[in-house]
């Protein structure tokens, strides 16, 4: 009795979870494996279209002979690079049609024209012509003929499915793709974006955790950048920062803070001298990081605020009795209480910033020193249309992330042990 109940429970569970599991498997897990597969292949964007045999049917009447008709099929291989094997052709005709010139490759039975065209090399083209006559002498309706479409079939290699593998993509990624530069840019972007958003998150959470008029309103406002669509925000920023007539540059010029406009998103380096030291700041990258911080600190804010509100009030009351200053309270009570949240946040944000594509793509398109690894995936795959390379870069991203997670958890584990 109990056994059958457990069995039905199991069955129900599988029925309930199956649709979701199947969908997630086919759209998320399967592509990940497909990605590994593609990254070991030399595939270009044009290769992924499956080659098709095509025929354009042109019906021509023959002058002075209304009972006869000429039909021209413009045959071609749609692919410029791949062969199609065993092309077969089929077309139907009205019941009173007789063929006049039968090609040796074809047969005409039951008003059905069948042809075996053999193998078509890439770019193959042929004008295939047949002449028909009606056997009862009736006139031919051209429209009717045109509406019937010929069927073509053929076999072709799907480049994705064959077993030719190569390590070329990975060699190219690591040695020819300015890999170190790419990695450094991605690291700066990820690290400073993450740290910045967490710092601002702590500041704002600390701020909203105090009582003041309009606090709930403030909480909503702080989340605006996070919930609004990235496209709208990125273009707004672009207009604000535009060097020609952007608001920021116009304002700075108006107040005579700068003399010439600064191209914040289009200039790779800017020279800054502080205390006599000259150094180059990566300007466009810094701007992009600013945008990232602006857009994602609300998330850190939300997490940290939730944690702050859970800190027992007694801790602060006790500190007040001991005569602690606000800064002492912050560093000795608040900060230790939120370290756990911060370490989770750091990991989450690090992973997501490492993969962030849209923000940089919309702001700079990867120009002026903002080319990160995800941008490179897009550039390789779709701009240079080397799908294999793009895949290889994305595999490198995954490997780097797994390494990061491994070391991060090891480090975290150690610290927990020490405590």
């Amino acid at each position: 009795m109990n056994d059958t109940l457990a069995n039905t429970e199991k069955k129900t569970a599988y029925i309930l979870t199956l649709p979701a599991v199947l969908l997630v498997f086919s759209i998320i897990l399967f592509p990940i494996f497909a990605n590994i597969w593609i990254s070991f292949k030399e595939v270009e964007l044009k290769d992924i279209r499956i080659p098709e045999p095509r025929a354009k049917k042109i019906v021509k009447s023959i002058s002075d002979e209304p009972t006869k008709i000429k039909i021209l099929y413009k045959l071609r291989n749609s692919s410029l690079i791949q062969e199609i094997r065993d092309v077969s052709f089929q077309d139907y005709f009205p019941k009173n049609f007789e063929i006049e010139n039968l090609d040796p490759r074809c047969s005409y039975k039951k008003y059905n024209l069948k042809c075996e065209f053999g193998n078509w090399p890439p770019k193959y083209k042929e004008n295939f012509q047949v002449i028909f006559a009606t056997n009862d002498g009736s006139k031919i309706n051209k429209k009717n003929l045109k509406s019937i479409k010929p069927k073509l079939n053929g076999k072709s290699d799907n480049i994705l499915l064959n077993t030719n593998f190569t390590l070329k993509n990975f060699k190219k990624v690591l040695f020819e793709n300015e890999f170190v530069d790419l990695l450094l840019t991605t690291f700066y972007y990820t690290f400073f974006g993450t740290v910045g958003s967490i710092v601002f998150g702590i500041l704002t959470a600390q701020m909203v955790n105090q009582k003041f008029y309009g606090r709930t309103f403030m909480r909503s406002v702080l989340l605006f950048p996070y919930v609004a669509p990235v496209v709208a925000l990125a273009y707004t920023w672009e207009l604000l920062l535009d060097p020609n007539s952007g608001t920021l540059n116009s304002l700075l010029l108006n107040y005579q803070i700068i003399e010439t406009p600064i191209n914040l998103l289009g200039q790779k380096y800017i020279e800054i001298s502080i205390l006599g030291f000259d150094f180059k700041l990566r300007l466009a990258l810094t701007t992009v990081i600013m945008f990232e911080i602006w857009r994602y600190f609300p998330l850190a804010f939300l997490f940290i605020l939730a944690r702050l509100q859970a800190i027992p009030k007694e801790l602060y009351e006790a500190a007040d009795v001991d005569g602690a200053s606000p800064f002492q309270k912050f560093f000795n009570i608040t900060l230790p209480q939120i370290t756990a949240v911060i370490s989770i946040l750091f990991m989450i944000r690090f992973i997501w910033n490492f993969n962030k594509f849209e923000d940089v793509f919309l702001l700079t398109g990867g120009a002026s020193g903002t080319r990160t690894l995800p941008i490179n995936v897009y550039q390789q795959g779709f701009a240079i249309s080397d799908i294999g390379m793009g895949s290889a870069v994305s595999i490198v991203i995954v490997v780097l992330l797994l390494m990061f997670m491994f070391f991060y958890f090891k480090l975290l584990g150690k610290r927990v042990d020490e405590n």
């Binding site: 593609i38 701020m207 108006n254």
Partner: protein, 397 residues
């Protein structure tokens, strides 16, 4: 000690005042006023003197009169001796000064003698400063987005700092950019597509996620722990890794440029977090209710539709809103999968619009307003639901 605290207090409050006045000046400049300098020196001197005078006078005058007197003096000096500016600007300055003097009115000489008083003051002012600073930094781009959409290209070329809206003009002229993007750029169609995709994603996600979450929350089966742990790991997987294989597969299946293709991808990427959020809530529903239902011989379908769903409306709404927001804002997949202008979503359409360098910026901003407003409206209106969704699902983004 007292002198040091007094000076520190005056300095901190003065910097706060400078910040307030500067923001006001920026906003006024953007209304087309020609203000070419922040006049920080004057503000500094007056702010410092007002703070000192406030401490000196103490309780001898009622604080409301004190505020009005200080504000009037400042406005008089700043507004009429230094700059010739319209009356609304000076009213603004007066209100800022009134606000400022009210804020400092709670600090007295006696208070300054207390322990940590400078730190307390610094903390207070930092909080105030933070509130204003962050409100400004966050709202300013949204504000600029909105005002730019009401301007014309020529007006912006003549004076790139004049964002004042002329409400006197014809409605048609005022909303010209919006008329143009709806008429010439088919934004009406894109709104429909975006809505279908987002609402569709919500419905399919819920259809798949509710049964799965129920199974994970309640039933015992082989692979349950594996399933529930892998849900979040899958969710952490970067979208950029999926893009190339999905692009190739969708190309070969002919699913690119189709709403179905987007629906499948959006549903798959939001399912894990939807299941995670829902199963957490389902676990909190008392089991006794279902046991009674089993005695009544209700099937699992009956249990889910008659007991679980009615009881978890808050959780389901927060999942629905969160999924809607993700689908509405999504850009990466729509960029990859859509290249036919007949099947664009709003985000993709705006990006397409910006690809043409000739597109006037006010059209771009009008489009941005159109795509942003629904999300912000939903967010403000349903904030309570969405915030819980954001905290639970915020690994995404």
């Amino acid at each position: 000690m007292r002198t040091k605290n007094t000076i520190l207090f005056s300095l901190i409050s003065t910097f706060f005042l400078i910040f307030l006045i500067s923001i006001w000046k920026i906003l006024a400049t953007l209304q087309g006023l020609s203000i070419n300098s922040f006049n920080i020196e004057i503000t500094f001197i007056f702010g410092f003197l007002i703070s000192l005078a406030h401490l000196g006078i103490g309780d001898r005058i009622k604080s409301i009169y004190k505020s009005i007197i200080f504000s009037s003096i400042f406005v008089f000096c700043d507004g009429y001796l230094v700059q010739k500016l319209p009356i609304w600007y000076n009213v603004g300055v007066f209100l800022i000064l009134y606000f400022f003097t009210n804020k400092i009115s709670k600090y007295t000489f006696i208070g300054l003698k207390e322990e940590h008083s400078t730190q307390v003051i610094l903390f207070d002012f930092l909080t105030l400063f933070g509130i204003l600073f962050f409100s400004f930094v966050i709202l300013f781009p949204f504000y600029m987005m909105l005002v730019t959409s009401f301007k014309t290209q020529i007006a912006l070329l003549v004076n790139p700092l004049d964002f004042s809206i002329n409400f006197g003009q014809d409605i048609k002229d005022l909303f010209k950019s919006y008329f143009v993007i709806f008429k010439s750029y088919k934004f009406g169609k894109y709104i429909v597509i975006s809505t279908i995709v987002s609402v569709g994603t919500v419905i399919i996600t819920l259809l798949f996620a509710i049964p799965a979450a129920y199974a994970v929350a309640r039933l015992n089966f082989f692979g349950k722990t594996f399933l529930s742990t892998s849900i979040l790991i899958i969710y952490m997987f970067p979208a950029i890794v999926l893009v190339i294989p999905l692009y190739t597969i969708f190309s070969q299946l002919g699913l690119r440029n189709s709403i179905e293709g987007l629906l499948i991808v959006y549903t798959a990427t939001t399912l894990p977090v939807a299941i995670y959020m829902l199963q957490g809530y389902f676990k909190s529903i008392p089991k006794e209710l279902e046991e009674a239902a089993i005695l009544d011989k209700l099937s699992w379908f009956g249990i889910i539709t008659k007991i679980i769903i009615p009881l978890s409306i808050p959780a389901i709404s927060s999942v629905a809103l969160y999924v809607f927001m993700i689908a509405w804002n999504e850009f990466l997949f729509s960029l990859m999968f859509l290249d036919n202008p007949n099947s664009f979503t709003l985000s993709r359409a705006i990006q397409y619009l910006s690809g043409d360098a000739e597109t006037p910026r006010q059209y771009l901003m009008a489009g941005s307003v159109v795509v942003t407003l629904p999300v912000l409206f939903i967010f403000v209106y349903f904030e309570k639901y969405l915030v819980s969704g954001l905290t639970a699902g915020s690994v995404k983004g």
